[in-house]
Amino acid sequence: MSLFKSLAAVTSAVALLATAAAAGTMFRLEIGPPIAAGNLKDLKKGDKKAVLAVRALVCDDLANVQITGTAEGLVNGARQSLPVVLSEANKAEAIYFVSQQWPDTGAWVLHLKGSCSSPKAEASTLVAVSKATFIREKSEVLREPATKKQIESALATLARSRS
């Protein structure tokens, strides 16, 4: 009986999490074209080179959300990892620009990771990029930081699609 209760509790918790995620009520990162980042007329010169914009959602303290990123690449069979610097578009709403900081050649996936302090949560997104554009249909939104296995899988899938 206790086993049955335990299984039921776990199943309920998983279902609850899945429902919450599906309903968009959990902390997460969202990507979009730079045009999504707000007032077009106030953009700085450098922002115009942005490949995409990223924002955090469902966090009580958006102004203190931390978002970091790396570019994970496969160039001529060699694995590369480069840090990516984000620029603020609207810090109060946790919106940032990402400009191209990776080579034109090879297959590249951006791993963007965010953390919210209230409620305490982490999320990430894997974004397939091609030179200075992002490929939405080959991107993933995750409820937690991407694992090494998820990153490698996304990169391999992208590289295969481009070969």
């Binding site: 707000g38 077009l40 953009l43 010169k45 115009k48 080179k49």
Partner: protein, 342 residues
């Protein structure tokens, strides 16, 4: 002394101009010299003839001749004046021409243009860049970027100011890669102005003035007489002379939707076209639907609103009424929310 003939003094003798002493000596010589008496007789005869002549007025031709003769010395003077004027004119012309060429060389030539068929050269506002069917050119837009001019294109270089770089595309195709603050680089076409808000795009204009904008990265706005279309990366927008920018759509949109957008813009069975657009639209096609909000009648606006809201509702605190009333601020905020899906 009397042995010397006195012929030189005979005229003055006849006229009574000699002194008493000179007259006595002439009288003494004439008394003893037959030759000088004959000479005196000839002079006195001639003088008598002259005294018999009457005084008459000179004819005009004589006076003209006199005036002409009197002007002889002035002719030389006037010639000198003429020479001076001519020299001054040449000097002024030389200075003027020099000034023209100097200012022409010194005039701003902010555009650098390189043709595939030749070298690069600097060009000024107002000059045209034309490419033949087999040639291309590249325009350097200061430090902002480049514009590639495809074959068979005619584009005019415009004014360059701190706040504006401008080109005018008459026909053909150009591809721009610009990294500048928004609204600094503008391409005028017969149907719209392409205002750069982003990085890279291609504009094509046909001989009839109709055009098409394809955004590669970033975004741009097409503007014509208060009508504006925002075109983000991956989207296309057509332009029509007199009507301005059409409705933008993504290049990867369903074929039926793209065809319906064209029909809607050209007014070809617009009601049916709107039905197709609403039925075929994906989440991403809220780009197209958002632009339609202000381009349909109030009844159809409700249908368009409902379709967009089904994908992404207006963020709080925006209301349906604000959107349907085409409140500019509300429309902008909803567009910014929708854009996360574009």
């Amino acid at each position: 002394m009397f042995n010397r003939h006195i012929e030189r003094s005979l005229t003055r003798y006849c006229d009574g101009e000699l002194t008493a002493g000179e007259k006595r000596r002439v009288d003494a010589h004439l008394a003893s010299c037959a030759r000088c008496r004959a000479a005196l007789d000839e002079i006195q005869f001639s003088a008598g003839l002259v005294r018999q002549l009457s005084t008459v007025s000179a004819p005009p031709s004589v006076w003209n001749g006199i005036e002409s003769a009197l002007s002889e010395p002035d002719r030389g003077h006037r010639g000198q004046l003429a020479m001076r004027w001519a020299f001054a004119c040449v000097l002024v012309l030389a200075v003027g021409a020099g000034g023209y060429w100097w200012t022409r060389e010194a005039a701003p030539r902010p555009w650098e243009v390189a043709h595939t068929t030749g070298g690069a050269r600097r060009m000024a506002a107002g000059e045209w860049v034309e490419t033949a069917d087999g040639s291309k050119a590249r325009i350097i837009v200061g430090t902002l970027g480049t514009v590639d001019v495809e074959p068979g294109t005619r584009v005019q270089l415009g004014n360059v100011r701190d706040s504006e770089y401008r080109l005018a595309l008459a026909h053909g195709t150009i591809s721009a890669q610009i990294n500048a603050p928004p609204r600094l680089f503008i391409v005028d076409t017969p149907a719209s102005a392409v205002v750069d808000l982003g990085c890279a795009y291609t504009v094509t204009v046909g001989k009839d003035g109709a055009g098409e904008l394809r955004m590669t990265t970033g975004w741009a706005s097409l503007e014509f007489k208060g009508r504006e279309s925002l075109v983000p990366a991956g989207a296309i927008c057509r332009t029509t002379p007199g009507a301005g920018p059409g409705t933008p759509f993504f290049d990867d949109a369903p074929t039926a939707l793209k065809s319906a957008v064209n029909d809607f813009d050209t007014g070809t069975d617009a009601g049916r076209a709107l039905d197709v657009i609403l039925n075929e639209a994906r989440t991403r096609d809220t780009l197209t639907l958002w632009h339609l909000l202000s381009r349909v009648n109030s009844a159809d606006r409700v249908r368009v609103y409902e379709r967009i809201a089904a994908f992404v509702p207006p963020p709080a605190p925006l209301s349906r009424d604000q959107i349907l009333a085409l409140d500019a601020d509300a429309l902008r905020k909803w567009r910014e929310e929708l854009a996360w899906k574009w």
